[in-house]
Amino acid sequence: MSDSLKLSLTRRYRFSASHRLHSPHFSEEENHRLYGKCNSPYGHGHNYVVEVTITGPVDVATGMIANLADLDPFVELEVVEAFDCKYLNEELPEFRETVPTTENVVREIYRRLKKFPTARLERVRVEETTKNSFEISTES
């Protein structure tokens, strides 16, 4: 086997949460114009899907880049438990000052998962709906 190959492993997780897009930098009217329905004052929700991609050498003893028995509880704790059934604007301190657009959500999830100890985080992709997705990759 002379080819040099790169392997990555991707796992999908889910959480449901509500948010409201509203920026203190703009007037009520400007917020309404900019964010449209997403500016509705009581918030609205999505079934988010989080795709987590890790990379690194495959351990010969296990055949794995990382054991899902380690990755799953890590993502459950850092992301699913933290985000599931929450109002992102009020219940996550990171979104008190930052608008919880999915760009900012994916960035926050990436920041949390970057600490995964046994493989390199390569990419996080968040589907806000089946039509919209946002991703962030580690620069190689």
Partner: protein, 149 residues
């Protein structure tokens, strides 16, 4: 450059067990996947070939040809088989999604003569997949290739 992707499915059994480790270690590392009776998946394989379309045919490669290669090299070898016992390319390896994807890459890479094999993506379930690609920048993510003892 254009990327062309073809999808096929196969169903196979496997279990995870490293004979170099104790029974207890195997259970601890592999959990339910260590069940010696095995279990199975409906694997979905996406194979991507990259290249420039031939001006005469408008194709990077004939998808019928790719379909035949995937059938012969992958489906005929792996469909309704036990990956631990019946697939020589996986002998001595734990048939994880990562290792099966790498084995499929090696089965296909020299069989695709029009265009270049760009990516092998193997779904073990809709929520878990491995990607195998050429390591262009050599960032140390090269899989171990040797058989383990």
């Amino acid at each position: 450059m254009i990327r062309v992707t073809r999808k096929v499915e196969f169903s196979a059994a496997h279990y995870y067990h490293n004979p170099a480790l104790s029974a207890e270690e195997n259970r601890r590392i592999f959990g339910k996947c260590n069940n010696p009776h095995g279990h199975g998946h409906n694997y979905v394989l996406e194979v991507t070939v990259a290249g420039e379309p031939d001006p005469a045919t408008g194709m990077v490669l004939d998808l019928k040809e790719l379909k035949d290669i995937l059938q012969r090299e992958v489906v005929d070898r792996m469909d309704h088989r036990h990956l631990n016992y019946e697939v020589p390319e996986l002998a001595g390896k734990i048939p994880t999604c990562e290792n099966v994807a790498a084995a499929i890459w090696h089965l296909l890479v020299h069989k695709i003569t029009k265009g270049k094999l760009d990516r092998v993506r193997l779904y073990e379930s809709p929520d878990l997949f491995a990607d195998c690609t050429s390591d262009h920048n050599g960032d140390g993510a090269t899989p171990e290739a040797g058989a383990r003892g």
